[in-house]
Symmetry: D2
Subunit: 291 residues, 4 copies
């Protein structure tokens, strides 16, 4: 967590000799001051003969002799040389996060508390819900609220409207803060790595509906929550963060729901922060999280 403006470079490419030297040499050649460097070499395996390299570097903006656009231009040849997927973001540009909720309050209150105190230093252009429950609470915070009811017959119009609102809001990230609805495959495909869900189980256990009932029936001794990117396959997207809490035989499903809420909101907030700080890189269906 830094106070000064900085640029964040994240990149991945096939592994080979000299990647770090080339990138860090580029930065130091302009006297760029590196605040944080995270590097990871994924060794070769069956599906990846060369192995893969992942990096995230924060550079103080005022240490470089040019602006962000020029930084990008000058870095481009290096990226092409190594076959990188890459981007450079600017800490001064706040991410725009659209929150989707249903009727459960805990993640929404939690995210707005973090936003209000600037712990999460983001814009929330709007909140979308299939119920009108939290309109007053959201609007009191000065945030627009959209009630998009779900037509159980044809959901096409519903999700077209949500997509339209997200586009109008110029959203970077969509957060399903216990939205309790399954997004259609087209919507998932439209925003890969940009829709984040919190699932109320320790995945891959208890996929789908009513995971606390499933956990109770199975008699597990810990319950958990999973923050993951949304893909077309339900509850199967890349996992960003997980945690668990201990329960015992005295806990009913209602108790589990209550304990679970504390894990859900914490895991969602941690995962979202990693994502917003560009700390999450995907590698197939897995994530590299440069905590």
């Amino acid at each position: 967590m830094h106070r000064d403006r900085f640029y964040t470079l994240i990149a991945s490419c096939p592994d080979r000799v000299g990647i770090v030297a080339r990138v860090s040499g580029f930065i130091s050649g302009y006297k760029g001051w590196i605040l944080e460097t995270s590097l990871h070499a994924q060794p070769p395996d069956e599906g990846d003969a060369t192995g893969h390299y992942f990096m995230r570097i924060e550079v103080r903006a005022d240490s470089l002799p040019f602006m962000l656009s020029e930084l990008r231009e000058r870095f481009r040849p290096i990226a092409e040389e190594f076959g990188m997927e890459w981007k450079i973001t600017d800490s001064a540009v706040k991410k725009r996060v659209v929150i989707l909720v249903s009727k459960q309050e805990h993640c929404l209150y939690d995210l707005l508390a973090r936003w209000q105190s600037k712990e999460l230093d983001i814009e929330i252009p709007c909140v979308i819900s299939n119920h009108d429950t939290f309109r007053g609470f959201v609007e009191w915070h000065g945030i627009p609220f959209h009630h998009v009811a779900i037509d159980s017959g044809d959901k096409t119009a519903t999700y077209a409207r949500i997509r339209h609102i997200f586009e109008e809001a110029d959203g970077d990230t969509m957060v399903l803060a216990r939205y309790m609805q399954v997004l259609p495959a087209e919507l998932c495909a439209a925003y890969p790595g940009r829709i984040i869900n919190i699932h109320h189980s320790f995945l891959p256990s208890f996929v789908g509906a009513r995971p606390y009932h499933q956990a109770w029936a199975k008699g597990v001794k810990l319950i958990g929550a999973t923050c993951h990117y949304v893909t077309a396959e339900l509850d199967q997207g890349p996992i960003i963060e997980q945690d668990v809490i201990r329960i015992d035989h005295t806990d009913t499903v209602a108790d589990m729901v209550r304990y679970g809420k504390d894990i859900e909101k914490t895991v969602l907030a941690r995962g979202l922060r990693y994502h917003l700080e560009d700390r999450v890189l995907t590698c197939g269906n897995k994530t590299i999280v440069f905590r």
Copy 2:
């Protein structure tokens, strides 16, 4: 967590043969339906030659052939026979919790979210603060807000006013939700076992001010929070609940503060719930928590 109305008996007394038999015999003699029973025998030690017995029993209200007042009357002789400290509470009577805050939002948002969803099924007659920061937020929830500024010269009037507000509100419990002020000894003494604080360290480490700075300087690998009853001695009252979270060398004090907030609000909410459900009995400066 039960839906039906129930009475909760909590009691402690010197240990001897026959306590459980006598109390459970009393209840079953009236066909009372026991929902939950927790018992604990504290063995004799240096300061307690006989050992002590602690119990908590929930009985369904509609299973008994009389009202609460008569239950208390009929139980009194048993309590006297065994030398019990005891009380019987009624799940239909909501506890009245007065919250004191300063300028940090996380515990306040968290408690109001739990109250709003009835996860915490309590009355919040008012919120008191030494700053006006959260007036709008609290009042939007329909809860009166009292700004009681602190006169750094003479705090007597300040705390007299707080005590007056608490009394007028008919408060059962006072919660210091990161209030950041040291209560005077008289106030602590006036409400033993009724004032709950959340301290932002894993006590007994890092008593007093700026515990995260202390933790950073010491280089600990986990940080924590402690929910405890307030006594005249700073941060020394009986501990109700604690938890920790892992940190590492990359975390600054600001990061610790951020991680700590998640632990603080969770630990406070758990400790407060145990207290409100009459699950906490004290034994000297320690607690029995019948989770």
Copy 3:
């Protein structure tokens, strides 16, 4: 953990008014000194119209005016009245635990360390293995070692031999301390609630072979272990204890195996202790653990 000899009564029965009163009245009628009482009412649900009651009571042996056999005789009518499944055990009679291992050392070393220091106050009449690897180590501790090789063609003789050794050893409990073999259904059925396994995943995730490889492929952020009773259905028996440890993207399968070993041995030791102290009661495919 008590020093004095005590009897442990565990019992379960359909729930109704007066169970605790009757049982505790019985004990106090003979001036029995209760050291520890644990009670649990499982509410009615779809499969159990009345609900079920579970209890575990420790009574100091020297506080009763008769021997164990007479205690059992005198308690029998109460058990019959309430339709109890029950037993009474004697802390002075050490449980006899037969350990089965393969080629992994961690659970075996761990159990023998606990046995050697009397932390686990048990008899280990023998260790059985499908490899000869640990013969020297086990025999050095003065414990007989049986190498029972597995004939990949017909395993009937193998398991008949194991069963014979267990019977000859007068074993109470069989512990699969990373035995890595699937027991035949007949053997499981012969000792219900008496065979304990440690599975190297957080069940129900990653049933079967190579769970760390499964966990790696899935990209989970925590890995775990599960101690459970063995039933005919692989990795599906009642769960006694579980725990997890955090991993991240830098951890290879080999790292997971290494971290996992620490969780496995700890979870196995905790679950085994609960079992040996008669703290585990089963309720369908779930457990009540009176920790």
Copy 4:
């Protein structure tokens, strides 16, 4: 955890532009294949005006065109240019770890299990103890055992003998595996950053003797253990690793001791592994642990 031979460079120096570029450029200039890179910039604070930089880099030995001695020679000018404290170690050279124990078995069994399975790929030239308890166990493993009794009058000779044994054994690291004795200041000073202790509390809570008794008296809800470097000031050296476990009011001091043992051995093993893999750098009285 890598199979192939590699060299590990660890270094720290005042922070400035170009450190990573220079070092990684040096390695890639010889086509060195980097397996793992960890970097950390400690920002300036009151006691350190420039900030400090820490690094750890693993390079595959067979990717470099020269031997270790030449690698060191060629790297030396860079180290001098940046004012580095540095060293380069070779994964093919096993560290020599001397273990000191008293009468508790858990850490000793645990370390020997890890050594026996090569999870800890080290040499154990000998075990030293102030009691003869574990002679047979240690010698059975083929490891020399030295009983060095402690003369309660004058301990000078005792520690001179221990130091002599350590020197004769050509020890790299001394591990106090619940040795239960306070080392004299001279011995601590002789091996800075080379003596590792496991303390049975979550430091800085409960320094000194009988920490579980202290924890019981205080009524904490979690107990812990701390692995740290030994310095002349008791239990105050740089912390390498810590962990905790939950307890409750039913746990006696004896129960805490038992739970604590599981935390102690795990925390010691983790901390020792970090140390042996050259993942621990010190920064004043704190550690950077490149996990």
